[in-house]
Structures are given as structure tokens and as C-alpha cells.
Amino acid sequence: MKKYPRIDQSNIVTLYFDEDHKPVENEDDADIIEKYEFDDKGMIIDHETIDV
């Protein structure tokens, strides 16, 4: 039986950038990953920057 597609229900926005901070499509091409976690009111509660 085929499972239904799961949708990420987290309040996290993840962005990928190259070394010049230009946006790239996916994690494999990224030099920098930025993660923003929001609460239910739309407040940023955490922000993490990872240099790959």
C-alpha cells in the first residue's frame, strides 16, 4: 500500500546559499545553510547559520 505523502509540519524555514550568499536550490549546492524557527505568532524564535 502506498503511503500518503508526508508534509513537514514544522515552523522552520531553511534557506541555502553559495559562498557569495546567492540563493541556491538545494542542500548539495549550498556553502551556507540558514535555519529560522518561528513560533505560532510568526515570531522568529531561533536562527542558526551553518557554514558547510
Binding site: M1, K2, K3, Y4, P5, I7, D8, Q9, N11, V13, L15, F17, E19, H21, K22, P23, D31, I32, Y36, F38, D40, G42, M43, I44, I45, D46, H47, E48, T49, D51, V52
Partner: protein
């Protein structure tokens, strides 16, 4: 009494006179900062040339050599810009809102950083060692302290921990500054092969984030109004800086993800109705819950862009950065996801007004 004096007093309404005085005071304050920054940048470039003499760069690995040459070029360019007070300085000064910077009265702690008891300044032992052993990092450290000490009390009060990090990886990528709102922690990273001006900009940029987060808590209506103004002013490009513009695609990406994820889910729902034996049923309310989550994510992605735009404006108003801005007559009509075409002065003026209103 001289008659000219009388006519001047009569003709100029007191409000206008006050505004003019405030503007002079603000410009004076900015030019003092600019002089300080210029002196540090000059000192830094001299030291950089001593540490990486041009005739000995062939001894470095190719990657490091390219990196050092690039930084050298950037330093020369930024000094030229600074000597002319920045390529856009006159225009930006004209458009800049009159916003007194606030009092700066806090005492210095043992390390020479101005701060109240609620704010601690920290540096890891490894970073401290690098500051003490590398003259370039030392100049950056001292310049950063000057910039921190020039901030108004109310901006320093937003920070619970001001952390200085110093690293020395050869030609490596690193993040210049971060702000973690849940910990109220602002970090600026020093690197011996970085542009001195970036150190100042990173501090002012992160202070901008701290202000934005605080206002989200204390004045959500004002933030909403500011965000709406950003959306209007930045239609078709008009990003304050290329860096701020790099966050613009986040909303579009979130929209595209929602479209494809919900389409996949709908297809599965349809199939599960036709072939319940082959397709797992979707739980009740799962589609509605997902639509709500993904809609919120689109709004959140937009908030990131607005937050970055605020920080780019803070860099201008609080600091000295006029170099990253490209004022243009027209912006090309195209979705500004990756391309930065500059900003029209009318758009910048609208953003300055929104910034001023937000902080009043």
C-alpha cells in the same frame, strides 16, 4: 540688533529650525564615526600589507593567494570610497531620516567595552589567543570595540551577551555575524583576511536584527506596518543591498513548495478514493492542517526578507555603510530573486520613512 538676525528668526518656523539642528547633530555624529572607521581601515590595510607583502604572496597556496589578493583589492576599494565618504554618501545623507541616536552614557567594563550589568561581553580562550597573536585580528578587535562603544545605550541594552569570535582558517568561508534572539546573543566573527569595514557592518547589521526582534514583541502593529511598506517599496527589485535581496526568493520557494506538496497530496486523496486497497487513507484534517502550516511558512519566509531589509537600513542609519548600495534611476521589471539591480532613490526614501516611523 542686526536686521538680518531678526528676519531669520521671524522667517524660520521653530519646528524647521529644530529639525535642521537635529540633522546637523546626526550628520556630525555619523561623520565622527566615519573618521574613526576610516582610521581603523587605514591602519588595518597597512598591517595587512605587512602581514601579506605583495612580493611574497607566491609562497602561499593558490587558494589562499587568491583570497588574500581579493581582500587586498576590497580594502583598497573601500578606502577609496571612504576617502570620498562613500559613493552614495551625499544622496543617502540627503534622504536619511532625522533620527537622534540616543544617549551613550554606560560605563566601560574591565575589557573596555561599554555595557550595563545586563550585558556581558565574552571571548573564547582560543579567540583571545588569536587576538593577542595576530596584529590584524587585534586591529579588528579594537575597531569592533570602538563601534560597540559608539552605539547608544538603548541598542546595547538589547543584547544579553556580546560574543567576539576569532578564527583563522585559510581561505575558508565563515559567517561574519549572527544574532540569536532566544539567547539575546550577538556574535561577530573576526578573521585575519577579512575586510575591516565588514566588521563594523556586521555589528550594525546584527544590532538591526536585535531591534527588529524586540519590536516584534513590543510593537507588532508597527512591525506589520513596516513590513507592508517594505513589500510596497521593493516591488520589482529595489533591494536595499544585494545581501538583503538574496532573501527575496525564500517566499517564492515556499509558495512553489506548497503548490507541489498540496498537488501531490490531492492526487493521493483522489487515488485513495478510487483504489483504497492500494493507497493509504489520508487522516481527517491532514490536508487543512498542511495548508495552514504551509501558508504560515510563506508568511514567515517574507518576514525573513523584511527583517533583512530592516538590518540593511540599520547599517546605514547606525553605521557608515554606503558602499553596498547601488542607487539607480530605474529598476528592471523582473523578479528579483537572484539579481540585484539596485534601488531607486524614491524607494529608498520610502524605506527610510518606514524605518523612521517604526523607531519613533
Amino acid at each position: 540688533m542686526d536686521t538680518d538676525d531678526v528676519s531669520e528668526d521671524v522667517d524660520e518656523p521653530s519646528d524647521d529650525k529644530e529639525k535642521k539642528e537635529e540633522k546637523i547633530e546626526q550628520n556630525d555624529q555619523r561623520s565622527v564615526n566615519q573618521k574613526t572607521y576610516h582610521d581603523f581601515a587605514e591602519k588595518y590595510h597597512e598591517s595587512f600589507l605587512k602581514q601579506f607583502p605583495k612580493d611574497k604572496r607566491d609562497e602561499l597556496g593558490w587558494k589562499e593567494k587568491n583570497f588574500v589578493n581579493r581582500v587586498d583589492r576590497e580594502l583598497e576599494e573601500s578606502l577609496t570610497d571612504m576617502n570620498h565618504l562613500g559613493k552614495n554618501n551625499k544622496m543617502i545623507d540627503k534622504l536619511m531620516p532625522v533620527m537622534p541616536m540616543g544617549k551613550n552614557t554606560q560605563p566601560e567594563n574591565k575589557s573596555g567595552f561599554r555595557a550595563d550589568k545586563g550585558t556581558k561581553t565574552t571571548i573564547t580562550p582560543a579567540s583571545k589567543k588569536l587576538v593577542e597573536s595576530n596584529p590584524l585580528v587585534k586591529i579588528q578587535h579594537d575597531g569592533l570595540r570602538e563601534a560597540w562603544n559608539a552605539l547608544p545605550d538603548e541598542q546595547r541594552d538589547l543584547i544579553g551577551e556580546f560574543q567576539i569570535r576569532a578564527i583563522d582558517n585559510e581561505a575558508g568561508q565563515y559567517t561574519g555575524g549572527t544574532y540569536n534572539h532566544s539567547k539575546k546573543k550577538l556574535t561577530v566573527t573576526l578573521h585575519p583576511r577579512a575586510n575591516m569595514q565588514n566588521v563594523f557592518n556586521n555589528l550594525h547589521h546584527e544590532i538591526g536584527h536585535a531591534q527588529y526582534h524586540k519590536l516584534m514583541e513590543t510593537s507588532p502593529d508597527k512591525i506589520k506596518k513596516f513590513n507592508e511598506a517594505v513589500s510596497l517599496a521593493t516591488v520589482w527589485g529595489n533591494n536595499v543591498t544585494a545581501y538583503a535581496g538574496s532573501y527575496r526568493g525564500a517566499k517564492l520557494k515556499a509558495k512553489q513548495y506548497m503548490k507541489s506538496a498540496i498537488a501531490d497530496l490531492d492526487l493521493h486523496i483522489e487515488n485513495s478514493k478510487k483504489h483504497p486497497e492500494r493507497f493509504q487513507p489520508v487522516p481527517d484534517g491532514y490536508r487543512e492542517k498542511s495548508v495552514k502550516t504551509l501558508t504560515r511558512r510563506i508568511e514567515n519566509a517574507e518576514t525573513i526578507y523584511e527583517n533583512e531589509t530592516h538590518s540593511a537600513l540599520a547599517q546605514l542609519v547606525t553605521g557608515t555603510n554606503t558602499h553596498d548600495i547601488n542607487i539607480v534611476k530605474h529598476t528592471k521589471k523582473q523578479p528579483a530573486i537572484t539579481n540585484h539591480r539596485g534601488i531607486r532613490k524614491e524607494a529608498l526614501e520610502e524605506l527610510f520613512n518606514a524605518y523612521k516611523e517604526l523607531h519613533e
